[in-house]
Symmetry: C2
Subunit: 354 residues, 2 copies
Amino acid sequence: MKIAVLPGDGIGPEIVAQAVRVLERLRADGLAIEMEHAPIGGAGYDASGDPLPDATLALAQAADAVLLGAVGGPQYDTLDRPLRPERGLLRIRKALNLFANLRPALLYPELAGASTLKPEVVSGLDIMIVRELTGDIYFGQPRGIHVNEQGEREGFNTMRYSESEIRRIGHVAFQIAQKRNKKLCSVDKANVLECTEFWKEIMIDVAKAYPDVELSHMYVDNAAMQLVRAPKQFDVIVTGNIFGDILSDEASMLTGSIGMLPSASLDQANKGLYEPCHGSAPDIAGRNIANPLATILSVAMMLRYTFGLEDAALRVEHAVKRVLAQGYRTADIAEAGMEKVSTSGMGDAVLAAM
Amino acid sequence: MKIAVLPGDGIGPEIVAQAVRVLERLRADGLAIEMEHAPIGGAGYDASGDPLPDATLALAQAADAVLLGAVGGPQYDTLDRPLRPERGLLRIRKALNLFANLRPALLYPELAGASTLKPEVVSGLDIMIVRELTGDIYFGQPRGIHVNEQGEREGFNTMRYSESEIRRIGHVAFQIAQKRNKKLCSVDKANVLECTEFWKEIMIDVAKAYPDVELSHMYVDNAAMQLVRAPKQFDVIVTGNIFGDILSDEASMLTGSIGMLPSASLDQANKGLYEPCHGSAPDIAGRNIANPLATILSVAMMLRYTFGLEDAALRVEHAVKRVLAQGYRTADIAEAGMEKVSTSGMGDAVLAAM
Ligand SMILES: CC(C)[C@H](C(=O)O)[C@@H](O)C(=O)O
Ligand SMILES: CC(C)[C@H](C(=O)O)[C@@H](O)C(=O)O
């Protein structure tokens, strides 16, 4: 099992270090894990003037899975667009064909108090958002800023989805729904956008292969509303890249503890890139106070989705549940009466719980 | 003051009838109000095979303001796209050049319990979302569903904003912020979409004319998150048509009582279309139980924004506050210990409070 480790920027190196300890522990216990580190994002730019250095991409391509921390920082905000940290992330997603982004929004009972929503609205919340990640307006051509035919400057982008792109993400979403509560909600804006009207049409067709899954459709504005009103109505949500970007962030914040949420980005053969949902938090970088649990839980997703090691995945997830039950809390999820720990302290606790 | 009254579908006719009573009362008290009714949406299709009949558009064009109920219903869902009720709404917005959509998300203290968020997170919430309404991917060309160069079917739409479109909505937003707490947050996805990178550039330029307003920028995914995490950080939000569609629905649901929220859609000369934020609710249509307050509050916005009658606007708004304080509640905002009233019963209460 070859894993490319890309710590990135901000708190990335600190939180990834704790996840690496978890992988080392699994290796000590018998898993054939190989890891190699490389820079990405701002760190890639600093090392070789490119947010996705060739050597980093080559390493990721040769690996079975990628573990990523986070990218971005204020010092890179004034760089030209192609040099910015986010471009490294977008390019690696596209280059590795990681079209299926899985973002669970799961509320840990121990952390229910962190949510800004009333306990009865979110207790037991467990949504899986399946976001298409290599198409849509993120990558659609033509795009740019130019002078239009009326002689005026304008900015423009193209939202675009082909039938095969919709089909393959549809299959991923239906198969995930089959393993859960068999309810899939496809989010679109079919009343206004032809692109998403087409999306809906193809989803309805893909559904024929999954008669055991109940498919529903919701407009994106209504979905943004329903996530606030009654989030527990959802089991699995499937949507395009831009709507998925917005809704998955909204959904993750319903839990109140985004420092707990992992994500997986998979290709057709379940090769994947795993990263926490939160960002690089440059304001707290280097202080050993960031929460490493989302990154550690990303390792669990890696074990499950890329390596098919359900037992090992559960072992990591159970260890995280145990440290929460034991009362260990990093600053972002701190609560009176609980034991406040550092980034590495949380790593210690997880290793002990394993 | 010529007002075109377009009740539309579902609960539209019932709730508009109560708002019309408010206008009649203002007329009885001396305002020179003229009203004429016409069908739109499904009602337009039923009457003359068009969701925006020529006569309706002509009436709206000749009027100073339009009062709209809501459009849409399941019986129209299988019609061809150009015949569907929403098309009537999109076409009237474009034809009247109603580029500035104002959507307040205001929490009434009496209804704080209706929110799914914790009281301390939403008490005192008062956000104004300024959504651009006649541009963006809603109207951008080219668009459609076709077979692409690779011989595969695909759907596509174009996000597009010209400099003048961004400038004019920018000025509206800054001027609204000047009259409120002087904080304007422009929402974009400038890290990915050139169209919104251009949006941001122009907003920064427009800001030079409003040195008293503090302009900030936020990515749309983060905005969707911050609205859940700490919504009171926002005063005025300005954004494009599609992001505004999503965020304004999310923000309105933070209040828990979308039956209370009005909206205004204005042109350059403050001619406007006024409608409740909620939809046509076909499931409860014709039962005299819908909440007419959002439509009545839309009349208050009309008095303020189109007719510049601040006193009359406040009179209507105060009457609504009074009926809430008196304990009158329609079914959607019902609470133990309060007096449940019908649609027309709520209209009676508002008239009495005026
Ligand atoms: C950093 C940015 C380009 C990225 C995205 O929009 O996809 C991020 O928001 C995410 O969701 O992973
Ligand atoms: C009905 C639909 C076309 C409309 C929109 O998307 O603008 C609605 O959602 C709204 O926000 O007024």
